[in-house]
């Protein structure tokens, strides 16, 4: 599903590469934690998958597509197969829960009948029944993140990228978020989650890829957060 072949990414004006000779494969339906300290290259990894950045050297395949060969106008089609969740939720403050989720479908031109059918389904899936008309500022952090996950998942992506989704949320609420991610994963969606949260990684017992200074220092199935230390 995601294939990195000897990928190095160096940003302009920076000596050390953000990612260096990274080789890894994420299979369809996998749940992967991407761990490591700040600046270790987790975000760069996610940006490369989205083709927001181009690798300096090396090849990347996502969902069977060679990103180097993907023309600019086809990038949107790649992104329709990838959902994204962020630490800061990135909801539209002037739209309610339903409208925020529907927005993701409206802007890719889905028919209204389809939107009316799938948005309530995904609201149920993330556990926000009865809150479809709430505005984002009327929701708790955990609820806002559920909306963001619903928006990322509503188009049934093949891959879900989560960049520290529990970073702004207290541990108790985080468990709920992880349950939703797990539920999404069980539908066959590949989930890649970058995180600092050791407790969550340890409790889930999924594959862990650890980055340090842009290099993969550990890749183990059913791993925990701090094993390398």
């Amino acid at each position: 599903m995601i294939h990195f072949d000897n990928v190095t990414k160096t940003y302009a004006n920076q000596g050390r590469p953000a990612l260096e000779n990274v080789n890894l494969d994420v299979e369809k339906g996998e749940f992967v934690f991407l761990v490591g300290p700040s600046g270790s290259g987790k975000s760069t990894f996610l940006r490369l998958v989205l083709k927001e950045e181009r690798p300096t050297t090396g090849r990347i395949h996502v969902a069977g597509k060679d990103l180097a060969r993907l023309t600019n106008w086809k990038v949107p089609h790649l992104r329709r197969r990838i959902g994204c969740v962020f630490q800061d939720f990135r909801l539209l403050p002037n739209k309610n829960v339903y409208q925020n989720i529907a927005f993701a479908l409206e802007v890719i031109g889905k028919p209204r009948r389809f939107i009316r059918k799938v948005v309530p389904e995904v609201i149920d899936l993330v556990g926000l029944e009865g809150k479809r008309d709430r505005m984002p500022d009327e929701l708790s952090g955990g609820e806002q993140q559920r909306v963001a996950m619903a928006r990322a998942f509503v188009n049934r992506p093949m891959i879900l990228l989560a960049d520290e989704p529990t970073g702004n949320i207290d541990p108790a609420t985080s468990i709920g978020i992880m349950k939703v991610l797990d539920r999404i994963n069980r539908t066959g969606t590949t989930v890649v989650m970058a995180t600092h949260d050791a407790a969550i990684v340890d409790s889930m017992r999924k594959r862990v890829i650890e980055l340090e200074y842009g290099k993969v220092v550990r890749d183990q199935s059913r791993g925990v957060y701090g094993q390398a230390y």
């Binding site: 992104r79 990838i82 890719i108």
Partner: protein, 304 residues
């Protein structure tokens, strides 16, 4: 493509920076109406030119008994032989248009004079033999031929005065041309201002909606879909500006240019078709400027 979605986004965008939108509409309206006024001027000058082209361009006035002009004083009134000779000279230039030579006798000229000055005191003090007979000449090609033809008969026996109407009109043309150029130059400056304003408005709009556009890009909206609301926004402002300009142009034509015709009671009025043509040119200019500027601005600010 979901039109409703695009238009609700456009509406939000226009409302959010209302002041910029209004400024944009005003500038587009003024620049387009000035441009249109310039074009109307061009048409007016053309019409006036072609009107005179098809009419008498040179009048050759002949001597009368009491003409004190140097050429007439010694020889007295023009003779039939002189009239024939002048006619031959004129025709010999080959510049006179077919059927463009008309001899107006004193009797005819007097009748004309009586009509033009009916009720005026001057009629009482004028005798029929004071009104000169004349040759009214229409040329094949005014600009070049007028000088040649006038020189041919200037100073010939029996000729009192040669009046080149086109040289009188040239001053009038110069005035119109000058006014037209001034209007077009101002319009050009304003169009530049309009372009900058469009660019700025679109940039502000892109900035105001950066959350929306970043999410649109993230969930895989096509570039066209991301840019369309901004493009439509610019075009709508252009369209409103054009509507206002259309109103102003109709005013310019009906009040001002038509008022001009009180002083020039000739059939040189601009037609409604001329006005419509100018309005259409203004619309195309407006939409083109707003659309292409929005598009180019967006390419800078909404990169994938």
């Amino acid at each position: 493509m979901r039109a409703q979605f695009v238009f609700s986004e456009v509406w939000i965008g226009l409302r959010r920076n209302l002041t910029m939108t209004i400024a944009l509409i005003v500038v587009v309206a003024i620049s387009l109406s000035l441009l249109g006024t310039g074009l109307l001027f061009v048409k007016q000058v053309d019409n006036t030119r072609s009107f005179w082209q098809s009419r008498v361009q040179i009048s050759v006035y002949l001597c009368t008994n009491n003409d004190l002009g140097s050429n007439c004083a010694k020889n007295g009134a023009v003779t039939d032989a002189e009239i024939a000779s002048i006619k031959n000279d004129l025709l010999a230039t080959h510049d006179v248009a077919a059927g463009g030579l008309h001899f107006e006798s004193q009797a005819e000229a007097w009748k004309q004079f009586q009509q033009e000055e009916a009720g005026q005191p001057i009629l009482k003090y004028t005798q029929p033999d004071q009104i000169p007979s004349s040759f009214e000449v229409r040329l094949k090609n005014t600009e070049q031929d007028a000088a040649v033809v006038s020189q041919t008969v200037e100073g010939a026996p029996g000729v009192s005065q040669v009046v080149d109407n086109s040289s009188i009109l040239n001053n009038f043309y110069k005035l119109l041309d000058g006014a037209r150029n001034a209007v077009v130059i101002i319009a050009a400056f304003l169009l530049v201002a309009a372009i900058l304003l469009v660019a700025n408005t679109i940039r502000l709009s892109a900035f105001n909606r950066r959350r929306e556009t970043s999410i649109m890009r993230l969930v895989g909206a096509s570039n066209f879909y991301v840019q369309l609301p901004f493009l439509v926004e610019g075009m709508i402002a252009g369209l409103f500006g054009w509507l206002v300009a259309t109103g102003l142009l109709i005013l310019v034509k009906s009040i001002w240019l038509n008022g001009l015709h009180q002083y020039f009671p000739y059939g040189i009025q601009l037609s409604t078709a001329d006005l419509i043509e100018v309005i259409i040119v203004a619309m195309i200019t407006g939409l083109l400027i707003c659309g292409s500027t929005s598009f180019l601005t967006l390419r800078r600010y909404l990169r994938v």
